[in-house]
Amino acid sequence: MIKFIEKIEGEAKLNFSFDEHKKIDFVDIEFFSTRNIEKILENKPALDALVINPRVCGICGHAHLIATTKALEDCYKNIEVPNNAKILRELTLNFEIMQNHFKWFYLSILPLLGERQHLLKATFPSQILAKAIAVVGGQYPHTSYSLVGGVVCDITVMDILKITHLIDEVMKYFEKNLLVDESEEFLNYKNIENILNKDGDLIKTLLKFKQNSWQHLGRSYGRFVVFGQNSYFNSGKSIKTTVSKNLNFANIKEQTNQNSYAKNVTYKNKYYEVGPLSRAMLNKIPLIKDSHRKYGDSIFSRILARMYEIPQLLNHSKKLLDELDLDKPFYIEPKIDISKISGSGYGCVEAARGTLLHKVKLHNGIIEKYDIITPTQWNLSNGTKEKLGVSQKAMIGLSDINLAEIVFKSFDVCSVCTTH
């Protein structure tokens, strides 16, 4: 049975097969459009990647920009990047992550649960967050404000005030609409039961899952990985609850698919889940760990982890703002011009949907090879019956394909990124 999944910035085809009990025993995931961005980058001057790569994706283009910058900077053996620039890059990336979460919840998940589509509930907070990015980066989507050696903007006290105000507004919105809670405590909850007696769209959705006994649906391997270490996210991998910190980019492998434009990704030959749930597991967020203990890596945990990341990131963003030192530089010109650089580099960040990796090889400042591995590739790898991909495994055993679609979308799928 074939189902088409839309509203994922493109389209995916899911081909389900069922066993004798009418339960899904395999799902083939196919993507049919590609733009071949990696090919386009070849033989172009290195800095052109800063303008081309954000255009890989209209909803997480900023993550692509920062990953590109980092990959190019990695080609220099030692380059000085001012602390202010690092802070601003993290900040704008946080804003992009959060605005994706809001849209995913209101535009992708709620309509699947039979709710009316609340377009404005999704666009209101994402407008504010896009504005916050624009204060720093000039525009959103598709800013190119970050480049090798720092960022181009010079932030003033006025800008910081503006951004602080925008962060507060989003926090207010979250507390009013998603998790209605008067207390300051809601960032530190340790127990699922603490939040289920509250009000708000997030809680209502979670309760709906409980009422339908869906809270265990969509479990996969329980293998998580996070590569994009920064001041907030911890990198590492976690299998069930065993955490290991030693990761090596060289163990990441990409394989092409015969019937789809998307490529599969493994770490040490195994499929891993990336995204907010993985990040929460590695950051040991008590509430999410509790959800994982009770319901595993189910859709319930994924939805909670993704939305609960918003207040955490808002909080952290405010701290980052405080760390800006306006007397220090935002850009330091690299000592060697990029046209004299040969070598290769990795750039890795956490995007809304999980770990995003850019690999670049330069020869005298010209791109020889460029490789992009997107989060959705990790989660949506199209494995075989013997070795299922993360989302495939999560859909196996269900009998209702509409439920399977919810499970599929709980990974927050982005089709343009997947095939780039």
Partner: protein, 385 residues
């Protein structure tokens, strides 16, 4: 056309539209806007701004307001081709107080893959139904380039694996007006950059119907909404430049109305990012701003509800609303020295019908740039170490 004639024409057009049935019978746009807490006064303020944007005199404001209120009379079909959804993104966060987004929320986007509730087979059927039902009346908005290499197999959509190219042609055939939203659907976009592996081209290359290009990567929400309102008011295609871009939006260079223009004229330049000049907001030409070669109204409108734009942020313009900007606008961070004599129409700019004053101004600018570029070649120490 004289003002009075134009007023009369608009009135007739709007009367005609008013007679048409609303797409959604339950609520009018006026009601939706009021319901969301916007006063009439705020709505009129928005209409005044939009009126100015469309280069109409202030007395046309009530008509613009009325056109916005009648926007739900037009069936709209929005197609996604090879793209990144950035244009829809731009639209989704149109102006706050979000009157534009309210209008777009409520007008009948008969088919929009990102926004509509239907999906899969149902969506495909909706598209076919909409095209049949509103034959010859719907406005077609296309986002994304059309890949034509390998017989168009780089993009197939829906259960029947229809090629993007065929859908685009089919939908264009019966449209009342066709807008190519964004640089991809106008000129092929980023995927059309050399070597253009998927053979992506602009919509106008695959259909023989007239296409209005609204380029920009992404185009500002104002230009998208403005193009629609323009069609509502006039019922005809707007005045276009040589690249089929509406003149009301793409008549001027970024450079012409740039907030840093004074520094350009005074010869004050940022020599490298992060220097004193950058702190003082000097002109970004020498660090690669392509504003003098790019036709768009960003310097007036800015992005994200007027928050900022690339030049304000300090990066400069990338020329994203020009054809093939990836390949023709040169290296990032470097001024476009050689470009001077190779702009469209041999340096006359995209607007071939510019009057003499315009041409003279342009030449003066050109000389200015050439002089500065020469200085730049000597002064800029990059690469000497």
């Amino acid at each position: 056309m004289k003002h009075n004639d134009l007023l009369k024409k608009f009135n007739l057009r709007l009367e005609e539209l008013e007679k048409m049935p609303r797409m959604d019978q339950s609520k009018t746009i006026t009601e939706v806007i009021e319901e969301k807490g916007f006063s009439r006064r705020e709505f009129m303020k928005w209409a005044t701004a939009t009126c100015a944007l469309l280069a109409l005199p202030a007395e046309f404001t009530p008509l613009v307001a009325k056109a916005a209120e009648l926007a739900d009379r037009l069936p709209i079909i929005w197609l996604h081709m090879a793209e990144c959804t950035g244009c829809s993104e731009s639209l989704l966060r149109s102006d706050a107080p979000s009157i534009d987004s309210l209008i777009f929320d409520h007008i009948s986007l008969e088919y929009h893959e990102t926004l509509m509730a239907a999906a899969g087979w149902q969506a495909e059927e909706n598209l076919e139904n909409a095209m049949k039902k509103y034959k010859g009346r719907y406005v077609l908005m296309v986002e994304g380039g059309v890949p034509i290499a390998n017989e168009g197999s780089f993009l197939t959509i829906g259960g029947h694996a229809k090629r993007g190219k065929d859908i685009a042609i089919e939908a264009s055939n019966d449209a009342a007006a066709i807008f190519a939203i964004g640089t991809c659907s106008s000129f092929g976009g980023v995927q059309a950059a050399i070597p253009n592996p998927t053979g992506a081209v602009g919509l106008s290359e695959v259909t023989n119907k007239p296409v209005i290009n609204v380029p920009g990567c992404p185009p500002s929400e104002k230009n998208i909404v403005g193009t629609l309102l323009h069609f509502l008011l006039y019922g005809t295609l707007p005045a276009l430049d040589a690249f089929n871009r509406p003149k009301w939006a793409y008549k001027h260079r970024i450079h012409d109305l740039c907030e840093r223009r004074g520094h350009f004229d005074a010869g004050e330049f940022v020599e490298q990012f992060g220097d004193e000049g950058a702190k003082n907001g000097y002109c970004l030409y020498k660090v690669g701003c392509k504003g003098p070669y790019t036709f768009n109204n960003c310097s007036k409108n800015k992005f994200n509800q007027g928050t900022s734009w690339p030049v304000q942020a300090g990066f400069g313009c990338m020329g994203c609303s020009e054809p093939d900007f990836w390949d023709t606008m040169g290296t990032v961070g470097e001024p476009l020295k050689d470009k001077l004599y190779n702009t469209v129409f041999d340096g006359m700019g995209a607007d071939a019908t510019a009057d003499n004053i315009g041409v003279n101004l342009l030449i003066a600018t050109g000389v200015g740039i050439a002089a500065h570029a020469a200085i730049s070649a000597i002064k800029h120490p990059k690469g000497d170490e």
